[in-house]
């Protein structure tokens, strides 16, 4: 009998937040302002968004966790207090933290804490230490399944309780980008560009190509892949039954910098996989189908991370994504006729044809995909295609809003 698993999805903005909820996330995590590991991203939430985030999540029975897990300096302390007070007042469910200053202050105002992977927890004594502060702990990403299981078993055996009086829960990364540094504690971007990954400013230069030269002998080492520091992305859906059986309670999907359709696709695949494990219908055919869907959205190719033991050579061999599909911007939302369930868009680029696979994204709409079955343009009746400047309408089950964007999904090599 496996306990219920919480699926935790990333939300970099309201589009992704809605997409995560649509995909079936049990909880979402997000950052505000500059003190989060995606500070460089332009689309971060602000303090003022906290209430709206909590309201939207709680209305769908989804928990909302605030990340506050960067390195903290003295000049940040007052901001941290402001953020934590605001989070508490906005009914945010927990804060994900690594620095002791954040742990201490959050505890002092009874704000529930989860320990971030940035704290690098890799053994049971560390769990015992952090159990004074937190009920949920994210393990270091470099542990094997066996090590994860040992920690989960020991929590049961030694009856390690968190501040809530319940046994400590273990969270692990299930899907998304990995990096060459131990649980993200990387210095490379800081060394080369003065941009600290640990303040959310990583410029991802590990994803570039490199040459390795032995300067003393002046020979360039022969390596079969120049992307020597760029790890493939983690994908655990192939052995999710084993990962769940190890005793973990929370599965985290990485990707606050990713698009809403990425968040929705990955969340729904893992949601289905968790259900399949619980119902005993987890199978090779399903894994194959999920993998195909996961390949459609952004990825650097996949591997199973360190759970199955260290494997050499699991490095990406291209820059950017190996996704099998890409999206092309077509236009923006105009109107939704809710009685007839017809969505109207204005085409600003390219053409939209009957039979095209489309994607609509927006803060309230999230990420909605469908295939065009019929098309009307400029109030002049049915048409086979709509082109730049046209107003077109087609049946869509979900309501759209004027801020929404319309995309066509095509094969990546098209």
């Amino acid at each position: 009998m496996s306990p219920s698993i919480e699926l935790l999805s990333p939300a970099g903005n309201f589009e992704s937040l809605t997409a995560a909820v649509q995909g079936g996330a049990d909880a979402v995590y997000f950052g505000v302002d500059q003190l989060n590991m995606r500070a460089r991203a332009t689309m971060n939430f602000t303090l003022q968004d906290l209430s709206a985030i909590a309201e939207q999540c709680h209305a769908s029975n989804v928990r909302a966790y605030l990340t506050l897990n960067t390195i903290v300096y003295d000049h940040d302390l007052s901001l941290i207090k402001t953020i934590l007070q605001q989070a508490k007042a906005s009914c945010i469910d927990a804060v994900i933290a690594a620095d002791q200053a954040v742990l201490a202050y959050a505890s002092s105002i009874q704000m529930p804490v989860h320990i971030s992977t940035q704290a690098n927890i890799s053994n049971i004594e560390a769990i015992k230490f952090y159990a004074h502060f937190a009920d949920v702990m994210v393990l270091a990403r470099e542990l094997s399944l066996k090590q994860v299981k040992t920690i989960c078993d020991e929590i049961q055996q030694q009856q390690i309780y968190g501040p809530s009086g319940r046994l400590v829960k273990i969270e692990v990364f299930a899907h998304g980008a990995l990096c060459m540094a131990v649980s993200g504690k990387c210095y490379l971007s800081l060394h080369s560009h003065n941009a600290s990954a640990n303040r959310g400013a990583c410029i991802q230069n590990c994803r570039h190509k490199y040459r390795v030269t032995d300067i003393e002998e002046d020979v360039e080492l022969e390596i079969d892949n120049e992307y020597i520091m760029s790890s493939k992305d983690l994908k655990t859906i192939d052995f999710l039954d084993e990962l769940i059986a190890s005793g973990v309670s929370v599965l985290k999907i990485e990707g606050r910098g990713r698009s809403p359709e990425y968040v929705k696709t990955v969340t729904s695949c893992y949601h289905e996989a968790i259900d399949a494990c619980a119902e005993g219908i987890f199978s090779e055919e399903k894994i194959f189908e999920w993998t195909n869907r996961l390949r459609e959205v952004y990825n650097r190719d996949f591997w199973g991370g360190y759970y199955l033991g260290q494997k050499m050579g699991e490095w990406s061999n291209a820059s950017g994504s190996k996704a099998t599909t890409k999206k092309i911007y077509l236009g923006k939302g105009k109107h939704y006729y809710s009685k007839t369930q017809i969505a109207e868009f204005e085409i600003e680029a390219y053409q939209l044809h009957v039979g095209d696979r489309i994607l609509v994204t927006g803060p309230t709409t999230g990420a909605v995909e469908t295939t065009i079955s019929s098309l009307h343009i400029n109030d002049s009746g049915a048409a086979e295609f709509a082109t730049k400047g046209d107003r077109c309408a087609f049946p869509l089950e979900c309501a759209i809003r004027p801020s929404d964007k319309l995309y066509k999904i095509v094969n990546a090599n098209q």
Partner: protein, 73 residues
């Protein structure tokens, strides 16, 4: 006369500008972002005119800034 232009809302509070040019930059204890001392704000851009001999250290601050929100014009 050179001018420093600073897009403060994008600051991530890393502290490097204050290390390079402490006479001009200070970390705010209130919101954790850097403050360009004596500057004037207009539509999110904070500007300050400086003397020629003050250019070097502020350019060093601009170079050090990981999110490139400091510019010396």
């Amino acid at each position: 006369m050179p001018t420093i232009v600073y897009r403060r809302n994008k600051c991530i509070g890393c502290n490097y500008c204050t290390e390079q040019a402490p006479e001009f930059w200070r970390m705010s204890k209130k919101d954790g972002k850097s403050v360009l001392l004596n500057s004037i704000e207009k539509k999110g851009f904070w500007t300050l005119r400086i003397r020629d001999e003050e250019t070097d250290i502020n350019e060093r601050a601009a170079t050090a800034c990981p999110v490139k929100v400091i510019e010396v014009r």
